[in-house]
Point group: C2
Chain length 198, copies 2
């Protein structure tokens, strides 16, 4: 199946044209973005945290300190909502109201699963390094047992997933088109520079 | 006072050196970032949503459709956690474990306040336009009453606020420094391009 099924949580109610459930397009957004925001709640308080993520098969993965408070809430069974956002441009319309931004964002609702088996944990952490820089997992000194124990790897099954995408120029009201106001799009890109050696 | 007071939620437990409560530095991060992630929970489910924000005085503001589900939860009194993240670089260490990222992120815990008074609502939406492009609020056709009504503006008092900042090169274990592994930082920048006129 090439699309994620639509759930009550992933159905876009107000901008159905911006909705996307296509697995390939969603995978591309997840691969391009270097940061996701993971949220949950714990004792009535919302928690949200930025972290790098990676995808392998049908799962999105994150890692962090085993002592991380949000991780502990997730491992206690609290549900996660994970958002990945790429900002692509500022959209200037002729009216204030129709100003907008171009973006590609993905929402994932899932329960965390702890990756505890050593070989799979090492394999996933290698995939993270490879995602950031091909070949890096073969260069760096691998984690020792203490380091591996200090790191928690969480997996989230990609099942209840949607994307919201806005592309293109401003959409003005017909009666505003003759106004003497410039309109357009200012593109935004994330640029990775040259590595500065240590 | 030049620093936000530390609360149990904004105290960094594991990386105190990365903690920052300086109001000026936090304001700079909030002004530089174009996107924040707002999270709360509703009927046991976590919600998280990306949106553009702006700062005026002691408040951070967001806007969106009056019908937005997350906004309705916030206006029903649910607490918000808001995260603003700037990714500044990929940090390559000699060991897998000490790979990291350079970033500046801000956490805000607050209750939403609805900006309902028309003049103040218009003034805040003008500030949003001015933040994106100076002078724009004087160029674009102002919102009419219908458009203004369709837009909700929420304010969050900046009181329980902290930043977490990582800068600089990799920090390797002393015994790894002689390894024949390159290390360094790959800078990441967000670039706003030339406006493409509509």
């Amino acid at each position: 199946m090439s699309e994620y099924p639509i759930s009550s949580r992933t159905q876009l109610k107000r901008s159905p044209k911006k909705a996307c459930y296509d697995k390939q397009q969603i995978r591309e957004i997840l691969d391009e973005a270097l940061v996701c925001h993971v949220s949950t709640h714990w004792h009535g308080q919302p928690l949200v945290q930025p972290t790098i993520h990676w995808v392998d098969g049908d799962y999105l993965y994150i890692h962090g300190s085993s002592k991380n408070g949000l991780f502990q809430a997730l491992l206690a069974g609290q549900p996660a909502a994970i958002c990945v956002t790429l900002l692509d441009g500022l959209v200037f319309a002729r009216s204030a109201f129709h100003h907008s931004v171009n973006y590609r964002s993905v929402m994932i609702y899932a329960q965390a699963e702890l990756i505890d088996e050593e070989q799979e944990k090492r394999r996933q952490l290698d995939l993270l390094m490879e995602r950031v820089r091909e070949g890096r997992s073969l260069e760096a000194r691998p984690a020792n047992d203490t380091e591996l124990k200090a790191t928690a790897v969480l997996a989230f099954k990609l099942e209840e997933v949607s994307a919201k995408i806005r592309r293109g120029g401003p959409i003005d009201e017909a009666e505003d088109m003759q106004l003497d106001v410039w309109a357009g799009v200012q593109p935004i890109t994330q640029v990775l520079g040259e590595i500065e050696l240590d």
